[in-house]
């Protein structure tokens, strides 16, 4: 063996989802694409807004020179300014172009932020369930995830967060609307978190950053608005992308925005710009950067996701599934009727339904259903969901929810 030891173990640990993909592909080949109900991936099925194609067409026909050349590592000045203006319109704070770094998606933004902030061994507090990729992102920069539980409705457990703050704490990382639960943290919760961090900051005599991963910010239902972190805590940085609200995850365009009032702003932003360069991103893709100023107020038709959510929630509830109704994103995170979520994922697979076990998100006893899919996939899946529930109930092994098992809050198994 000559490759890195760490990557070898990561490959082994991430092989479960690969096996699921292979199994899914095998089933699609055997039973027909239309008879396999794939809820495993958060790959939006909606097309980008019509305006996106119009803008691309205009940009491609632009005869100006240098449109695909290097630009400053932070991105085009016009794009950064347009994003800053957009944020100023939607927050109390006033942003300038200097507060924005254009990135290779939100994944790029988070790595840029972690590289800037983390010394080896620094801890980042993450409420669970959480997006498993965070573990890898922290590991890239020798950071340590410190996983804390959330309340039964997946709202923030401020006591748990306060209890986790220690000398090594560099940041708290939140994700709202949340993957995998669809939870949107309420303004009151966030204000409480802000006060807690302010207090800890004074007590420890140094900054604890609030990092907010918000790619689903615009994907919210029932008239809810995602509260702004910038209005609640000065030492905050947002990572986001246009992957979900414009349905273009493959194009890798996003940004990081620092709170205009953040301390030592020059160093934080210079660190992020340098990190963007030296991590090998260099800059966010040029053509997409040029499209963004024209698309900041665009959005895919959320009502279609909401319809999916409602159809799925109504049916699963009638079959006896227990869950917190999602307020945003396109994930549903029901409890499994048997304790072993991996076993229940297998049972669903027998019904040609592909989902992801909650243990992959630090929260066993649940499954994640990504409903960014078509109505017909949802309709087709329902009899299978019902049969799997009936079979599980028939075994007499009772549902072991989050509250009962207390499992949620453990380090996610790195399946995804």
């Amino acid at each position: 063996m000559t490759v890195a030891k760490k990557i070898t173990s990561s490959i082994t640990n991430s092989s479960m989802i690969r096996k699921m993909f292979e199994e899914g592909a095998r089933r699609k080949a055997e039973f027909g694409e239309e008879n396999v109900y794939d809820f495993s991936l958060g790959n939006p099925n909606l097309e980008p807004p019509v305006r996106f194609k119009e803008v691309l067409r205009e940009l491609v026909n632009d005869p100006a020179a240098g449109r695909h050349a290097y630009m400053p590592n932070a991105g085009y000045q016009e794009t950064r300014q347009a994003v800053a203006d957009y944020l100023s319109r939607n927050n109390r704070a006033e942003f300038s172009a200097g507060d924005i770094v254009m990135t290779v998606g939100a994944g790029g933004a988070l790595n840029v932020i972690f590289k800037t902030l983390l010394d080896p061994g620094d801890e980042v507090i993450i409420p669970s369930p959480y997006f498993v990729e965070y573990n890898f992102y922290l590991e890239n920069h020798q950071g340590i995830p410190r996983i804390v539980s959330t309340a039964n409705d997946f709202s923030l457990d401020l006591k748990a967060i306060e209890g986790a703050v220690c000398d090594k704490t560099k940041a708290v990382l939140i994700n709202s609307p949340n993957n995998p639960t669809g939870k949107v943290y309420a303004k009151e919760e966030l204000l409480g978190l802000g006060r807690l961090l302010e207090k800890s900051r004074k007590r420890l005599g140094r900054t604890i950053y609030l990092i907010s991963d918000e790619p689903y910010r615009k994907i919210v239902y029932d008239g809810i608005k995602t509260p702004s972190i910038f209005d609640i805590y000065s030492e905050s940085i947002m990572a986001t992308s246009f992957s979900k609200d414009l349905s273009l995850p493959g194009e890798r365009i996003g940004y990081a925005a620092v709170n205009p009032d953040i301390s030592e702003k020059d160093i934080v932003t210079a660190g992020m710009i340098l990190s963007n360069r030296i991590l090998g991103f260099v800059n966010a893709p040029a053509l997409m950067q040029r499209a963004i100023p024209f698309l900041l107020d665009a959005n895919v038709d959320i009502s279609l996701y909401q319809k999916n959510r409602d159809m799925l929630c109504e049916a699963l509830a009638s079959f006896g599934y227990k869950f917190v109704k999602p307020q945003g994103a396109f994930y549903l995170f029901p409890e499994t009727p048997i304790k072993d979520d991996v076993e229940f994922v297998s049972a669903l697979k027998e019904e040609n339904i592909l989902t992801v076990p909650g243990s992959s998100f630090g929260c066993p006893g649940h499954i994640r259903i990504a409903y960014c899919t078509t109505e017909s996939v949802i309709e087709g899946s329902l009899p299978g969901f019902e049969r799997a529930m009936k079979k599980a109930q028939g075994t007499g092994r009772r549902a072991q929810g989050k509250a009962t098992t207390g499992f949620c809050g453990q380090d996610a198994e790195r399946h995804l």
Copy 2:
């Protein structure tokens, strides 16, 4: 101070080039854009080939669904296959799609390769002068650069490389055509390197990889062809991009290709694909990936760079500058007429000529001139180059070339 200690020191160390940029911008504002001769950056001035715009236009009008969605982390199967076919046509080896990982430029490819191969403390041997960014890329993955000198004509010093091989050696990293020297390693040199690595491999009982960074592969002059690493050593991986040969560095599209005969290929490629995902790249930008199959045989008009090279070489030689004539890339790396290259860069700046000191490439006593610029910039700069040489000669401080000083081969100052 609350950001990471390492990023803070990196910001400080990389501030020199930022000062040069600021100084350049100030001079452009004061003297007029056309009176400042900027040779500081390897940002190609040629426009992408006409075919690129045609292809983009066709792709943007493609009505098919899912064109901007996630695809496998390694990239589109069609794109990987097209790259594999291209490599098979241009090498003795037969490549398959599985040997290719599409990446966010060559910078992305190198980080993916290092993440896959390096355990903390592993050493990578790099012949100097070398692209300073390699230091940062290695540091990202806790690798250690082991810098070795090259011969007077910048060809490989195999004895120096052999002397640097130790228990910690994981790879040798070469870059041909070379930044900053324009050197193209001859097939004979590479065969010698292959034999050396094969011998070391047998002696140490484990693989030493050959990593070749080849973004300038197609930018070669006087009928030279860049020899293939795949034909000389089985344990080889190429990192490359379309940034220079298609003039689209801002779009961040490149790839890594493993030798079809590499040992433990499944693990190496699985590690690279996983690294592409977990470093936050996720995948190379979708639209550019779809363009690549139509552009593999396209190239910018190299004859324009060759004309620049010839004009510059002829003039600088007549002024008394000493240099090895570049065979590829678009850099000239002359000796400085005074020992202190940073001082000579300042002297050129007084002539409104912007260059980069050789010490930024591990090779003091030289400057790098990036001639991927217009003929008029070169013409306009010549009187300044002549005056700076005359002034330096007037000081009586003799030229201190590479051979005399023996400076070349030290760790590059992280100015760039």
